[in-house]
Assembly symmetry: C2
Homo-oligomer: 229 residues x 2
DNA sequence: GAGTCTTAGTGTACAGTACACACTAATAGG
DNA sequence: CCTATTAGTGTGTACTGTACACTAAGACTC
């Protein structure tokens, strides 16, 4: 026991707000709790931080254990530590938010042991602990972040059309955007590379597929560029 | 003991990055450590979170205990939890940043028991733990925040001149601003109220004193206004 | 293969904002 | 009263944000 500590310690957990996108609607991945407290309630995936584990690692570990998701975009959100938030005792939760590509949406079948289900952000069930508050914080953060950092690509398959991308922005920001202006701005950033492909199997003019140029983004970021929408 | 926990728990601490302003230079409040580890080193004020104490309360308590400062602007910054950051064992630190009014700069004499000293942000001594990293994060956050939230008032006395305010922005952003454009923008926000006073005892035209209209700020914020500089 | 349906893709004009820039006004001190 | 010092003010120009409507292309139907 490395510390001598005069009071009982608060415990440390991580919780992940996982955003996905289905049919242009912003979704959240929730877990059904099996054990008390809040047994039977829906909750964010998460759990205790192990000794000698970074917070990021704990978040990724819990995410994989409970949902099967790996190698997603993951960023620290905020830390919630009110004494009353867990009826078992004082628990400090470091919250993360994650963005998951549509083509990697793990369907329920793939995570058969756990009850991980996607819910539309607009229609969430009653949640355990203070998870509703954590989600509200995450939504606000996402809306703020999207304005000056191109993270919405993380919610789409690697190749996507501009209309799809606009849909993501609209879903996140909860308002309509002008098509022509959106295209102008997003292309002006210079972070999108045309692929040689067009989308197949649509009953109308086939749209161009683009992909996000991560290398260029890294380079421009280092030079202190801003990517305001 | 409310939890059964299979591993030894990481401990939870808070650390405060306290910004002040002296002669137009951005300053940081540091504490000299008396005990190991890092005895004799400079460090951020902070300490363990008590059971059944909110994180905010812990930060305020530690700040007052170690520096005498009360009722300052205080906001959560980021949580640092790398296992190696404290040689005694795994410690998760919830970092805060605070802004202190110039007229409330507690001089060293007022905190006679502790060694709290203001250092220019540009010339910091070697610091304990990962506190240098925490400070870098705080500076970046402050620079970002200042662009869209009027928090710089927190660094000035209640009544201040526009030139002083401009100086704060310049100190934080580390670049010069145009006087006329700055005045236009900052007055256009509508958050400054002229006082009936002018600054006394200056060997030149006496400048108008202003104060921040907190009520108006609250009202406009609720209406979703932006305060970009 | 002509016609229809549906979404892709494109340009311009106007308003508002950002930015560069230089002189007069007022006060204290000598 | 003269000097030194900072306060305080307006305009023109470039750029950026925004509103807005039509043609292009592919798939399916008959």
């Amino acid at each position: 026991m490395p510390f001598t500590y005069e009071y009982p310690r608060p415990a440390v957990t991580v919780d992940c707000v996982v955003f996905g996108l289905d049919q242009g609607v912003l979704q959240l991945l929730l877990i059904k709790r099996n054990s008390p407290p809040f047994a039977g309630c829906w909750a964010l995936p998460g759990g205790f931080v192990d000794q000698n584990e970074t917070l990021d690692a704990a978040a990724r570990r819990e995410l994989e254990e409970e949902t099967g998701l790996r190698e997603v975009f993951l960023e620290q959100l905020f830390t919630f530590g009110d004494p009353g938030r867990d009826p078992r005792g004082h628990t400090v939760s470091v919250a993360y938010y994650a963005l998951v590509r549509q083509d990697r949406h793990v369907p329920q079948a793939a995570t058969d042991t756990s009850d991980a289900v996607w819910y539309s952000v607009a229609k969430l069930p009653k949640l355990a602990f203070d998870h509703q508050r954590i989600i509200s914080t995450a939504v606000a953060r996402l809306q703020g972040k999207v304005r000056y950092q191109p993270i919405n690509f993380e919610l789409l398959p690697r190749k996507f059309t501009l209309t799809e991308l606009q849909g993501v922005y609209e879903a996140v920001l909860e308002r309509a955007l002008d098509k022509r202006n959106f295209r102008k701005k997003i292309l002006a950033m210079g972070l999108l590379a045309e692929t040689k492909e067009k989308q197949q199997g649509v009953a109308h003019r086939a749209p161009q597929l683009y992909q996000f140029d991560a290398a260029k983004y890294k380079k421009l970021t280092k030079q202190g560029f801003n990517f305001e929408l």
